[in-house]
Symmetry: C2
Subunit: 230 residues, 2 copies
Amino acid sequence: MSKVDFSPIADTTRRAEIVALLRRAILTGQMEPGQKLNELRISEQMRVSRAPLREAMRELVQEGILTSIPYAGTFVINVTAKDIDDAYSLNKVLDEFAIERTWPLRDQRFFSELERRHEAVKQATRDIDTTRQIETALQLHGLIHEWADNSVLLETWQRLTSRLQMYFALHQQARKEAVPAEDVHETYVALLKGTDMRAAQRHAREHIDLDFEELLAYARGLEQRPSKGA
Amino acid sequence: MSKVDFSPIADTTRRAEIVALLRRAILTGQMEPGQKLNELRISEQMRVSRAPLREAMRELVQEGILTSIPYAGTFVINVTAKDIDDAYSLNKVLDEFAIERTWPLRDQRFFSELERRHEAVKQATRDIDTTRQIETALQLHGLIHEWADNSVLLETWQRLTSRLQMYFALHQQARKEAVPAEDVHETYVALLKGTDMRAAQRHAREHIDLDFEELLAYARGLEQRPSKGA
DNA sequence: TCTTGTTAGATTGTCGACAATCTGATTGTC
DNA sequence: GACAATCAGATTGTCGACAATCTAACAAGA
């Protein structure tokens, strides 16, 4: 028996790579909400036939970031203020549940991973890499969901996160000014290390409320904005 | 302006029909967990080419009831006791949230719809149609999620429900005896009509706990059962 | 006997071409 | 000018065939 535990090898199908490419393009805000995805054009750009591209698009439709209308096309989802509100209010419930489940499972590995991700956020903040800043913040936030030892919860949270990441990216793009450089996660991390679970839950709720208000205001601003074609 | 509000016309693509067919086959327990889906065989049976079939399968993979391994095949998900446990514990949280949100929105239409679905359950119980019994019970249970006016919650609950329906169908199939004919939803419906929200939440939690214990015992029984091929 | 290399068969992944459908412009009619 | 019918172009949906990969059976060698 070998002492090395190998990780499963990466998917080597074109489909999987296409999914990753498209997802990234959408979640970083490179594609606008409502924008149509022209199959022929994209398949030519990627040097791939339409079959794996279409399969990839079906996956992203189910993932909730694309929407498809038969014989009309596949589009990036439109973001309404209500969508954001819905996602956030559910997120609060999931956070509370995740903290409750993670709490008794916290160990040394948890704390070091928490520290690692917190560092990543601070690094991205220093680099003023806004896209990475969103990514790392969501990864820090996601630790409690990964650690809660509930695969359905994790899956649900990841679906939610996809959209939130997209919303944040668009919001970030919209305002020209740089993101606040201060570290808003300091208290959150400290509470997760502490002994008062209720306090941690309360803070998580208030903490995400903060960014939420800003995001909602932004979304209300572009409500009923005409969707742009290819 | 017409006073009639038309429902959107049905999807007329083969893909959509294939999705419906496969989903039904899986959720009614006609396909065993772990079973492999042979693309050529299924496409010939359905008189369809592999392209729309494969796209349909990608959707169901994202929906969480199929799993795919590149160059190996696509399989019906395997059910472990932990999966059921995870799904149920999250379901409890979602139920509590759904009731909270639905509560102030209850109106006459809500109550009549509640009554209608309750009748459907009772009818299925009288007919001893176990498959329909599961369907109607889940639909009754789903009303609070549909009424809560939160699209993300509804979507999440529907994903969860898919699996639960599959679990219940398998459980039902396993035990030869008929399901208890008594109506276990009477109290639940009554509480949803009442004025004590906390009581309704409490009952919803205990109510699903009931069937849960039985399901869990069943799942533990077939743990590490060898998966059957095509 | 155990391990390694080879090979044939089956299955999945991908491709290019054709069919079905939609959209918008054009034409003809009142 | 307004409106319906027609048509061309573009785009999506589907098909059949080929390429890449896996599996299992078999043979060869230590």
